[in-house]
């Protein structure tokens, strides 16, 4: 994937999305689902950061940092996390300034929020609106 800020010069920078799960396959699958449902035009950069570096269940700070750098196009990075250490590790990295500027932990359900965030980001929404779209997924009652 080509990185860097403002490449092309004419296209507006898109918000990047990072999906942090306790499980590598969960993060990858939800990323694939969100990309698939957002398709139809350009899709915002999405990276999965699931599981530990050794491939087990858990969280890898290194994977999260690498994923955030990978999707950073200069318009901000929205991070969604699922359980326990995923949330705590993202919060810690934010507090310790280890993520790109304008990175934000989005308070949203993981799967539904990821789809909403990627659709909004792909439409060119700024970070605040991407976060809002993802958070709105909490309001959708299933019964």
């Amino acid at each position: 994937m080509t990185g860097g800020h403002g490449d092309g010069g004419t296209q507006p920078a898109l918000v990047g999305v990072v999906l942090v799960s306790h499980s590598g396959p969960v993060a990858e699958s939800v990323a694939e689902l969100a990309r698939g449902l957002a398709a139809g035009g350009p899709v915002a950069p999405v990276a999965a950061a699931g599981g530990t570096s050794a491939g087990g269940l858990g969280t890898s700070a290194e994977r999260i940092m690498a994923a955030a750098r990978e999707v950073d196009r200069g318009a901000g990075v929205a991070l969604l996390a699922d359980l326990g250490s995923s949330v705590l590790t993202v919060k810690t990295l934010l507090l310790e300034d280890e993520l790109p500027p304008e990175s934000r932990l989005v308070d949203a359900p993981f799967v539904e929020g990821a789809v909403a965030a990627v659709v909004a980001a792909s439409a060119g929404a700024p970070l605040a609106q991407v976060a809002e779209a993802a958070a709105e997924a909490y309001a959708y009652r299933k019964v």
Binding site: A54, T59, A61, S85, L88, T89, K91, T92, L93, E96
Partner: protein, 204 residues
């Protein structure tokens, strides 16, 4: 005054305690957690020992910040960011001074524990690390041994509590009757501090 060597000794003693107690921590984590607390902390503190040996930071604050950073990146479970934050914030509070007083360490640890509370959003009685750390750090005003004892008692006091944070909270009342593994490892950390302080007194 406490120099960088004191803090390296503390981390080495903590690593040794985790190594000694890893099986027990994982056993405690089996009924109410995901049975990886001992192995996670062992991986983290082994990496801390390697990092400190390789870099040998010259200031107390730098020792704790390196240890904290290493835990955040190697543990893989919730105890990584929580202990990482504890040590990094404490290290930051200590700054770059080559030696710190016991009073300065007490105040810095107080800030570190505050950062843990903020990060995890837990309150006393939620059956977490804080139930050992808060009484432990409060008792530092008396002595290092008093802090270790208070943390140990705090960990024992988590047995009748119902978990309100983390995976154990999903068990509801079924979490009652088990000692919290995080509070137990927190007591080990403060126990290691007391051991190292007593060894330093003995050497004087």
């Amino acid at each position: 005054m406490r120099d960088a060597e004191f803090f390296r000794n503390w981390m080495a003693a903590a690593a040794a305690a985790v190594e000694r107690e890893a099986d027990r921590l994982t056993e405690l984590d089996s009924p109410i957690g995901d049975a990886d607390h001992g192995s996670n902390l062992l991986r983290g503190f082994t990496a801390v020992r390697t990092a400190l040996d390789a870099e040998a930071p010259a200031a107390p604050g730098a020792v704790l910040q390196l240890a904290g950073r290493t835990l955040i990146s190697t543990v893989g479970g919730a105890s990584g960011p929580l202990y990482g934050m504890l040590l990094r914030r404490t290290g930051k509070e200590l700054g770059e001074a080559p030696e710190v007083s016991d009073e300065e360490l007490r105040e810095a640890l107080d800030q570190g524990v505050g950062a843990v509370a903020q990060l995890g959003g837990a309150a006393p009685g939620d059956k977490t690390m804080l139930d050992a750390l808060l009484p432990g750090v409060a008792a530092l005003a008396t002595s290092y041994r008093a802090a270790a004892d208070a943390a140990e008692n705090g960990a024992l006091a988590t047995v009748p509590m119902q978990a309100r944070k983390g995976r154990a909270s999903y068990l509801g009342e079924r979490s009652i009757g088990h000692q919290d593994p995080g509070a137990t490892s927190s007591a080990l950390l403060l126990g290691a501090l007391a051991d190292v302080a007593e060894r330093a007194e003995g050497a004087r």
